[in-house]
């Protein structure tokens, strides 16, 4: 078929301070096609989306529109050139009517010409009809369901003559019947010649609706704009997860004779986990593997007492416990959690290195009347900061000014200082460079050798295989099986994929 691409990205690179997020990525979008953009967290997917939509400018490489080189200086620029995007978060004005939301762009031409709402409603109707949206254009958006809000955003993008439409996880908050309706509409848009980009973690949906696919891994193409024909779920997963690398550092350790530090038996949670059983022994690193959305971080937060455990039993050091709050987990049970989202959950960016490293131990160090001196915190925390080689001009430096790797070291240091017996490490190497990552891996191994029980959550298969003693595979908020790590990449990745793949599939 002779179709020339509407939009192409050629050899696009994007460097952020300390990290090369994209290392020369290609993608080409054809008219009348639905193109899947896949990749695990940190693979560079969101950076690529931001470049296509004009939020970031590429460090090197070229964007082409209809074969002509194009630069988007701002999101507005990209919109004006026909690149529409429907973000995961809603960009609507809830108190405004549907019609006004769709056509706000047009009003923005003048400041003082009175708005003719009747005309606005008339102009909005065709776009709503095109999407089978049976709503009065005068309805305030706040009265619509999430699914309909999303369709309104699509209508808005279409009314701006978008020829390329990016949908970032459009089904994340939709029910299955809403998803079906959305797909019907997307197919129709495709048949009308729009080029759609579908970003999703749900591979079944990708297989159902997409005709072409680009997979990113570690900031590079794992596959580039190929046809979906003949590609099955297993191949997609394999491309996302990738091949062996850096698993060499793994060494065999047997901790089966050690006491159990954390033991979950048939645990259900308020977030939807069912019958989760896993144990972590003293000095053991247990990996919790799964694709994004499998419920791993959610399980970690439930263990830490942020969300309720509704069934089954949690035992810490052999004794059944009910952990009602994060404070209780930290102070009474000596548990720690290194968040994947260190910027918003792990660290207080405006505060000093010392203050951050000291937060969990403040209570322990507090003297009479709860007073606390910097000197006492420094005495406990600074050996760990030195040991981790945190590069900071002084302990008074605010954490926000340090690199991602150093920030991550501080979030590890603060739990070391707290002397925890059980540590959950969630996606520890997101956003840090390879050298720091290797160092971090050594550190986690050393921690375990010294007796800390570690639950490692990672979407990176090589990281899993380099660190874990045993790997629990999670999918759809359930444990799908256990794999004992042998350090052999091909074998383990194969077995893990089988666990995910064997999961009961929704009837096709």
């Amino acid at each position: 078929m002779d179709r020339s691409p509407i939009f192409e990205a050629v050899g696009v690179q994007k460097a952020f301070p300390g990290v090369l997020a994209l290392k020369g990525v290609n993608i080409s979008l054809l008219p009348g096609s639905i193109h899947a953009l896949l990749g695990e967290n940190g693979a560079g997917k969101s950076t690529l989306i931001k470049i296509i939509t004009g939020v970031h400018q590429p460090t090197a490489g070229q964007l082409r529109l209809d074969g002509q080189a194009a630069t988007f200086g701002s999101p507005r620029d990209a919109i004006a050139r026909g690149i529409g995007v429907v973000h995961q978060e809603r960009n609507l004005f809830p108190r405004f009517s549907v019609a006004e939301n769709i056509h706000l762009e047009r009003l923005a031409m003048s400041y003082l010409r009175p708005v003719d709402y009747a005309a606005l409603n008339r102009a909005a109707r065709p776009w709503l009809e095109a999407l089978d949206l049976d709503i009065d254009p005068a309805t305030p958006v706040s009265e619509l369901s999430v699914a309909r809000m999303q369709l309104v955003e699509i209508a808005k993008a279409l009314s701006l003559q978008s020829r390329v439409l990016l949908l970032d996880e459009p089904t994340a908050s939709l029910t299955s019947s809403e998803t079906d309706r959305l797909f019907t509409i997307l197919r129709r848009l495709r048949d009308d010649g729009t080029s759609l980009v579908f970003v999703s973690h749900k591979l079944e949906e990708v297989q159902e609706i997409c005709d072409r696919v680009t997979v990113l891994r570690d900031g590079a193409n794992a596959c580039e704009s190929r046809s979906m024909e003949g590609v099955d779920r297993k191949q997609l997963v394999q491309m996302m997860i990738g091949r062996s690398e850096g698993a060499g550092a793994w060494r065999h350790r047997d901790r089966r004779d050690q006491p159990e530090v954390l033991d979950l038996a048939g645990v259900d949670t308020a977030l939807g986990h069912r019958d989760v059983s896993l144990t972590v022994r003293k000095g053991e690193i247990v990996g919790l593997y799964g694709l994004v959305g499998a419920g791993r971080t959610e399980l970690a937060k439930a263990i830490m007492g942020q969300f309720a455990v509704t069934g089954g039993e949690v035992r810490v050091n052999g004794a059944p416990v009910k952990i009602r709050s994060v404070a209780e987990a930290i102070h009474r049970h000596r548990m720690g959690y290194i968040s994947e989202d260190r910027k918003s959950e792990g660290l207080i960016l405006q505060h000093s290195v010392l203050a951050n490293a000291g937060v969990p131990i403040w209570r322990r160090l507090a003297q009479a009347m709860g007073s606390l001196t910097d000197g006492r915190v420094r005495k406990v925390a600074s050996p760990f900061l030195t040991k981790l080689e945190v590069k900071t001009p002084s302990l008074a430096q605010s954490v926000g000014n340090l690199s991602g790797g150093n920030q991550q070291k501080i979030s590890v240091a603060k739990w070391l200082a707290a002397n925890v017996g059980f540590l959950i490490v969630d996606e520890p190497s997101v956003g840090i460079d390879i050298k720091t990552k290797a160092y971090l891996h050594d550190l986690l191994r050393e921690l375990a050798d010294n007796g800390t029980a570690i639950l490692l959550i990672s979407s990176e298969m090589p990281e899993m295989i380099a660190l874990a003693d045993r790997i629990m595979v999670m999918d759809e908020y359930r444990i799908r099986g256990e794999v004992t790590n042998s350090g052999v990449y091909a074998e383990i990745s194969h077995r893990i994929m089988d666990r995910i793949h064997d999961a009961p599939q929704p009837a096709a």
Binding site: P75, R76, R95, E100, L107, Y111, R113, E143
Partner: protein, 319 residues
């Protein structure tokens, strides 16, 4: 949805109901309440306070706050009086001068917020002090007494029955503001920016310009209020505006404004002003300590914010 449920979702219904109930209750306790004299005093208070409330409301609409409302009003008031007494300007010219001062002060707030990226709270706290300082520097804390007869007459005149002339500019401003926020793109931009400035920018709205315009309007409204107070008091008091701040927040909030921005109602804010005026008046009527007015205002703000929160929860979570 029944009609009553629909009504209860509008911003003005609750305050209107409260107003009517308050009037009935107070009238039943004190027959003097609805005397012509009392009504006139009420309307005079409403005339000025509504402008003060609008001045804050337009800033609440963009999701910010303006602590310098009173300082701008005070500076405009003494500029108005001073221009007439010291420079001997005729009243219309002095009025224009004062309004330009207000507009300029407001625009300055907006520009500073936009250029520095510092929060409106801090910027207007600083300009509050600056404007007030200029005011005291010019007046040396002494009032201007040389107000022309024409202005004094306007301040005391009644239009019909107990309705004072002073209420006329306020009602005009109310209508214009209502139309602006409902029908003019600039009003919609202000609400859009307050609701989600990122999305507003993506829709082609100049967020910076909108913020500056909103602050300029706020300054202008505060200046009009200042001028009206001069006409009513018949002197240019340097202390004009000192006690506006709490009221400026109370009325919009009672009128259902969302402090995070994106939603305000002109009519409901006006009713908020009416409620505050009625309660203040009632406390005077029953010879209750006037300092209690402050306490009541505070309680009203808390109650209104709580109520708004409940309503917001019902609107989004109740589906």
């Amino acid at each position: 949805m029944t009609n009553l449920a629909r009504l209860s979702r509008t911003d003005w219904f609750g305050p209107l109901l409260a107003t009517i109930l308050a009037v009935l209750l107070i009238q039943s306790l004190s027959a003097n309440f609805l005397s012509a004299y009392n009504i006139q005093i009420l309307l005079l208070a409403i005339a000025v306070n509504a402008l003060v409330a609008y001045s804050q409301m337009i800033i609440i609409a963009i999701g910010q706050m303006n602590l310098s409302v009173g300082a701008i009003g005070g500076l405009a008031a003494i500029s108005f009086a001073g221009a007439m007494e010291v420079w001997g300007l005729p009243a219309p010219l002095a009025l224009t001068f004062a309004l330009l001062i207000g507009l300029g002060c407001g625009a300055l707030n907006g520009v500073l917020i936009r250029i520095t990226g510092i929060s409106a709270f801090v910027i207007t706290l600083a300009t509050l002090s600056i404007f007030k300082g200029i005011n005291l520097g010019i007046t040396e804390a002494q009032p201007f007494y040389g107000i022309p007869e024409g202005v004094k007459r306007f301040g005391g005149a009644v239009l019909v029955g107990p309705v004072p002339w002073l209420l006329v500019p306020t009602l005009l401003v109310t209508a214009i503001l209502w139309f602006t926020l409902r029908r003019l793109p600039v009003g919609r931009f202000i609400l859009a920016v307050g609701s989600n400035d990122h999305a507003a920018g993506l829709s082609g709205i100049s967020v910076g310009r909108t913020v500056i315009i909103a602050h300029a309007i706020s300054g202008l409204l505060a200046a009009i209020a200042g001028v009206l107070v001069v006409a009513r008091l018949q002197i240019g008091q340097p202390s004009i505006g000192d006690d506006w701040l709490i009221l400026s927040f109370a009325a919009p909030v009672i009128g259902g404004a969302i402090l995070a921005g994106g939603h305000v109602s002109t009519t409901a804010t006006f009713l908020g002003v009416v409620i505050v005026a009625i309660i203040t008046q009632a406390l005077v009527l029953f010879s209750i300590d006037p300092f209690l007015v402050q306490v009541v205002l505070g309680v009203l703000i808390l109650a209104a914010v709580g109520l708004n929160k409940l309503r917001a929860g019902a609107a989004t979570g109740g589906r």
